[in-house]
């Protein structure tokens, strides 16, 4: 998963089919090379292993706090990899946001859970946008470029049905029930997105999506001060980077057209995003 190399081990065989399907297009790294993260999903060695096995995520031998049912192995691996990137990539400003690319420009969608960010991201990825990440946007404050590291898109609850009926060809894991997020299924990223994972993009559109039942899809311009506050809040290392973090959020926001996007129907949403640039210039109402 460029720009990262992961060494992954597991003794949980039920993980294999999902892993092989969803990571089929990724390049194998040199065994004698450098790996950024050494991770493992392992059975918890207790009696429950015989009838109701539990698993745990390990980061280079250090166990995570949570012990989970073995059915959740794959979502746990994904969660763990996100943590690895978010907790160790301070050479970037790491923002909790989906990011996609078109013609060299990136669309960044920060959003708290439940805003329909992943659904929108999945639909855009099926409609010609290149998936860079559905969770973590990496902003290189020296070059001003956005990096992604495309990985399976995590769909929750209703969006699982929405995406699988809108895109019957899409490949995803069997949904599993989790305590924290409800039903979760992971959607395979397109091969083209994986193969061009290392390509950066210029920041261009910063859109805060919101799913609102029954509403007509629309953009509303948003002021840069408000967007700054949102990005700062949604970033994992804003405070840690200190002045660098402040400047990074500032320069990121300055390079983007900022807007809110409200939608209920995916087709409508897709047609608006098709001409995003034109639509964003049409709407003039700016809230500070």
């Amino acid at each position: 998963m460029p720009p990262f190399v992961v060494r992954f081990r597991s003794n949980v065989p039920s993980l294999t089919p999902d892993f092989l399907t969803l990571y089929a297009d990724y390049e194998l790294a040199d065994v004698n090379g450098f790996a950024d993260f050494h991770v493992e999903i392992r059975y918890v060695p207790n009696l429950k292993r015989l009838f109701d096995p539990e698993i745990r995520f390990y980061f280079d031998g250090t166990p995570s706090f949570s012990v989970l049912p073995a059915q959740q192995s794959f979502p746990t691996l994904e969660w763990g990899l996100n943590w690895c990137v978010a907790a160790h990539s301070h050479h970037y400003l790491v923002v909790h946001a989906a990011v996609l690319e078109r013609n060299g420009f990136s669309l960044i969608m920060p959003a708290p859970p439940g805003s329909g960010k992943s659904t929108l991201c999945a639909a855009l990825m099926m409609n010609g946008w290149r998936l860079m990440s559905d969770e973590l946007t990496l902003y290189d404050r020296n070059t001003g470029h956005i990096y992604g590291h495309p990985r399976p898109v995590s769909l929750k609850n209703r969006s699982i049905d929405v995406i699988s009926s809108a895109f019957p060809d899409s490949v995803m894991t069997t949904p599993v029930m989790t305590e924290s997020k409800g039903m979760v299924a992971l959607l395979k990223p397109p091969e083209s997105a994986v193969l061009s994972a290392a390509l950066p993009a210029k920041p261009r559109w910063l859109v805060l999506p919101k799913y609102e039942q029954g509403t007509e899809a629309r953009f509303e311009r948003q002021g840069s001060a408000r967007t700054f506050a949102l990005i700062a809040e949604q970033s994992f290392n804003y405070d840690l980077l200190g002045l660098d973090g402040f400047n990074a959020v500032g320069s990121l926001v300055d390079q983007c057209i900022c807007a809110k996007f409200t939608y209920s129907n995916l087709d409508e949403a897709m047609s608006l995003f098709q001409n995003i640039e034109a639509h964003l210039h049409e709407v003039v109402s700016v809230t500070p």
Binding site: D36, D60, H88, N237, G242
Partner: protein, 359 residues
Amino acid sequence: MLLLEVLRKPQHISSLSLREWDLLIRQARSADLLGRLWREVELSGQVEGVPEAPKRHLMAAKFLVERQHDAVRREIGYIDEAMRAAGLRAILLKGAAYVATGKALATGRTFSDVDILVESDDLAAAESALSIYGWQPVKQSAYDEAYYREWMHEIPPLVHVKRNTTLDLHHAILPVTARIKVNTQGLREGNALVDGCTNLYVLQDADMLLHSATHLFHEGELAHGLRDLHDLHLMFGEFGALPSFWDHLLIRARYLGLMTPLLYAVRYSRRKFHTPFPLGFLGQLESDSGQGSILMDFCYDRALLPKHASCEQFGSGLARVMVYLRSHWLKMPLGLLLYHLSVKSLARLRAKEDKAATA
């Protein structure tokens, strides 16, 4: 162990293979020494020689450490304010003292908390002054609370309600019940006021080193053992640049009653980091305090290494248990020790049962 070889001879960093870098970064991360590794890279002028991928991890560690230092400097300001308001004086210990005095060894040093020392008569006043400024005690079990209050040299950790920073308030450098008797009053000699502060001081260099050594070799769980030993290694180098330091260090160690911790600091700093010492100093130290023992070497050679799969060797687990027991043995008389350990293991058992019952 690769990390130790690199810290001893940083000049070879740029000739490492990617596979070696892979191991080095992991060992350094698990020992909390990534920031220090970056320091060695910079000091030896080899930034260009580090491949991109590991360099990103070192840079990330550098950012993290630099922000921690900013945070520690801010905390120092706030603590000084609280002490000033109450008209008390306090001494910064360990990491916070290295940063406050701008010592070279501070570079790359990671932090988890700030430690300060006050007169035992001032303890209640200091605690209440800090509480007014937002540092509140973390809730402890009734036993732990009583244990800290009655036997320990510090009160339970204080956490700031808004900034979530941890502060350890000490009134001595070892528990009241400890086997070695420390001349705590002696530590007040030669304190220096921290730059920009009115009520915060640091120990004189020799005492700073002796305190860090005492702390490390009374610690039961060496989660940061190698990092703390590396602090000592760097202090020997930095303070020892002044030739008169070595005689003074021996005088202070004898005067404060801290010859044994000094002996161990020297012994394990040499064993792990090949720290150079003047021969005369080593001779005097050995004629005073002996050489250490095979048993101690067995324990500390292993327990000082980070808990990483690549550092485990025959007896590592046993060595950690022995260090844990030794630390308690040093801190309290046998009767109290047996009582304390049995209460602790009962509490652990009970917690396990509760967990099993709720699962």
